[in-house]
Symmetry: C2
Subunit: 190 residues, 2 copies
Amino acid sequence: MTIMVPVGVSARHIHLSLAHIDILFGAGYQLTSFRDLSQPGQYAANEMVSIVGPKGRFDKVRILGPARGATQIEISRTDAFALGINPPVRESGHIEGTPGLKVIGPQGEVELEQGVIVAARHIHFHTKDAEQWGIADKQMLRVKVNGERPLIFENVIARVSEQYALDMHIDTDEGNAAGVKTGDQAEILD
Amino acid sequence: MTIMVPVGVSARHIHLSLAHIDILFGAGYQLTSFRDLSQPGQYAANEMVSIVGPKGRFDKVRILGPARGATQIEISRTDAFALGINPPVRESGHIEGTPGLKVIGPQGEVELEQGVIVAARHIHFHTKDAEQWGIADKQMLRVKVNGERPLIFENVIARVSEQYALDMHIDTDEGNAAGVKTGDQAEILD
């Protein structure tokens, strides 16, 4: 059985808490949707911010909505060198002990104490897909990506939920190293 | 038999022709060595230039010496997006039909018509190493990199010469995707 999954290459982005949206965009501000993402209910917002580190900054960093309990910034290792920080590779939501950055919006700025990660590559499975293929939540998978620069990613984390749609998430370093872009297909080897 | 090779992660850099060194640094200028590289006779120069594309620029781009017959710029895919150009993945020296960039030195500037590539990952073997391990020039290898983000690179080109020292060359996207740095070890699988 060959199991193919679509690839989504994530550029640097930020998830904001409601409190930080208030500071950056004004009290009570509501993010607006630029386009829907692969995961149900998730969207790329029209709104963007700047992120500033000790050695560099990026402007026009896309906000992903809706608001979350804690602000989290996901960047590539390449971005991290340019910014001058050293975030760990982590699963989304695990931000304890990570570095921060300054975030600048049109109405204010926030000095984050933590929240910057390099996202660990993972595949979202709907529960039915996972059951059909015998894949368990948190299982580590090997995935072949047949782009211009073929490679096999090991330690790809399976994340299973009824809230998820099938999609493999890698960052721009990983996408570029494989020569793939969003919408390409990858094959789960085992 | 386990075959291990050292990894070298190449940041963006430029090789210059003598004619371009004359324009960028002044007639008859001689590059000076900052440090030796893994390949015999090759060095990172103290001298640096700026490279400028339609969408962005990088300053302090390291020159690798000695001078070559044709100027060549090696960047990552991430760099290419930032500069606003779309160079192909190529072996060093194969620059026909590639895009150019503007190069700025302290004494002048050059508008390259071609010469920018994303370097195809490869391993330099001394002839004796290749013979011992049964590896032929141009052979495609699979190489496992056990960094923080383990992966297997396919289509790694073997380059065999008596002028070479054992070293695997990948770019920063590939190094970051694997979580490895220069001096780490990789394993040739087949």
